[in-house]
């Protein structure tokens, strides 16, 4: 994997998470919230932000502690760091945006079980210095954020005919997309579109 290479630029670390290793569309990790909280844009944005914060803070913490962590017990320690930061984000969201928290609360708590966060901690942060780890966290987090925003915008515009709660069409074109089942359709369709897009333009954006 190119990310373990010493010479990767920060830009590449970020675009990597956005396109080549997009956690949702390419790696199909952390799918649960991608469907559960994306029936409107606002929830998607806040969920995405929570994940960015947790990913960056976890990467920073683990990278800073990497020489003290014994490899044999690294996984429990990673889990401890992750759940600590998730608890922080969880309590902050509950206090700051209670109306969003009502919808996404359970899924915020379940960020603990995100395979992608643990995977980045294991594959990148535990082997690299603090600054690149932070950028890797931002890249991965933004990839997730981007995917959530695309999915939730798609679902809200087509399902409810509105964006961020504001009506744009005055009608509800395809109500099914905001129903639970519609989430699966939306992700399936967007994933296929992403595959197509990646195959067409992927080579170009990888040339940074």
């Amino acid at each position: 994997m190119s990310a373990t290479n010493e010479k990767v630029s920060y830009v590449e670390l970020i675009t990597n998470g956005l396109l080549k290793e997009n956690p949702i569309f390419r790696l199909a990790l952390s799918l649960c919230p991608a469907i559960a909280v994306t029936n409107n844009l606002k929830n998607g944005v806040f969920m995405g932000l929570a994940v960015v914060v947790v990913q960056v803070m976890v990467n920073l913490t683990i990278s800073a502690m990497r020489s003290f962590i014994s490899p044999r017990i690294r996984l429990p320690i990673f889990m401890l760091v992750i759940s600590g930061w998730v608890t922080v984000v969880n309590l902050v969201m509950d206090a700051a945006v209670p109306d969003v928290y009502k919808d996404v609360g359970l899924y915020i708590q379940l960020i603990v079980a995100f395979a992608s966060i643990l995977a980045r901690a294991e594959m990148f942060a535990s082997k690299n210095p603090v600054v690149p780890s932070a950028f890797d966290g931002i890249g991965q987090g933004i990839g997730f954020f981007f995917a959530l925003v695309v999915i939730s915008a798609f679902r809200e515009v087509i399902g409810k005919g509105s964006i961020w709660g504001m009506d744009i069409f005055g009608t509800k074109p395809l109500l099914i997309l905001i129903l639970p089942a519609g989430g699966f359709f939306a992700v399936g369709i967007l994933m296929a579109a992403f595959n197509w897009f990646y195959e067409k333009f992927g080579a170009k954006s990888g040339a940074h």
């Binding site: 649960c32 469907i35 429990p76 708590q109 379940l110 603990v112 639970p180 369709i189």
Partner: protein, 195 residues
């Protein structure tokens, strides 16, 4: 404890509030292991067992340790610790006691520790203020629901191997669309039981 109420709880957790189709949890594992019937069956059994034991354990820890000490806000950390410990423990015990079973189910056990459903069950038990027996019934129902989802999906995906799917939809995107269709069918269960 009213037996009918418990039965309702099991049915509601497995069909009406199915974890995969109406609450979208455990999707990584759901899409990961539903390619073959055999793995889907192994996963279902392991999953339901771990879920019930961890629900029982975390109920006891929450009630007898965390509430008296006023540390309910640490429940995420404590519950994930319980699940990880349980998985590690049963891994070791199974390897010693029945290597045969370990050979069959060991790989699923390792996957379980990072699964959101296992963690969601104790969290919702606390959220809904279930008692001990109710917690276990809820875990059983969730386990049945997840097994049902896995088995339905595995049998469809085995057939899908032979179908001619448009190029960019091959693999996961198609699996998502199929799941959407099943989820649509499952919305038919909503309103079956109101607790």
């Amino acid at each position: 404890m009213d037996f009918g109420k418990l039965f309702e709880l099991v049915v509601s957790a497995s069909l009406v509030n199915n974890y995969v189709f109406t609450m979208f949890l455990g999707l990584c594992i759901f899409f990961g292991v539903s390619k073959k019937m055999e793995t889907a069956m192994g996963m279902s059994v392991t999953f339901t067992a771990v879920m019930m034991i961890s629900a029982a354990l975390s109920w006891m820890v929450f009630k007898f340790i965390m509430v008296p000490l006023n540390i309910e806000f640490l429940m995420i950390i404590v519950f994930i610790g319980i699940v990880a410990g349980l998985v590690q423990g049963s891994d070791t015990i199974m390897r010693k006691v029945s290597p045969d079973l370990y050979y069959k189910l060991g790989i699923y056990l390792a996957l379980i520790s990072t699964n959101c459903i296992i963690l969601a069950v104790p969290l919702s038990n606390v959220g809904n203020k279930y008692g001990f027996v109710e917690s276990i019934a809820y875990a059983l129902g969730s386990g049945i629901g997840f097994s049902l989802a896995l088995i339905i999906m595995a049998s469809i995906r085995e057939k899908l191997e032979l179908a001619n799917v448009p190029r960019y939809f091959r693999g996961l995107p198609m699996a998502f669309v199929v799941t959407g269709l099943i989820a649509l069918a499952f919305t038919g269960f909503s309103g079956l039981i109101t607790l």
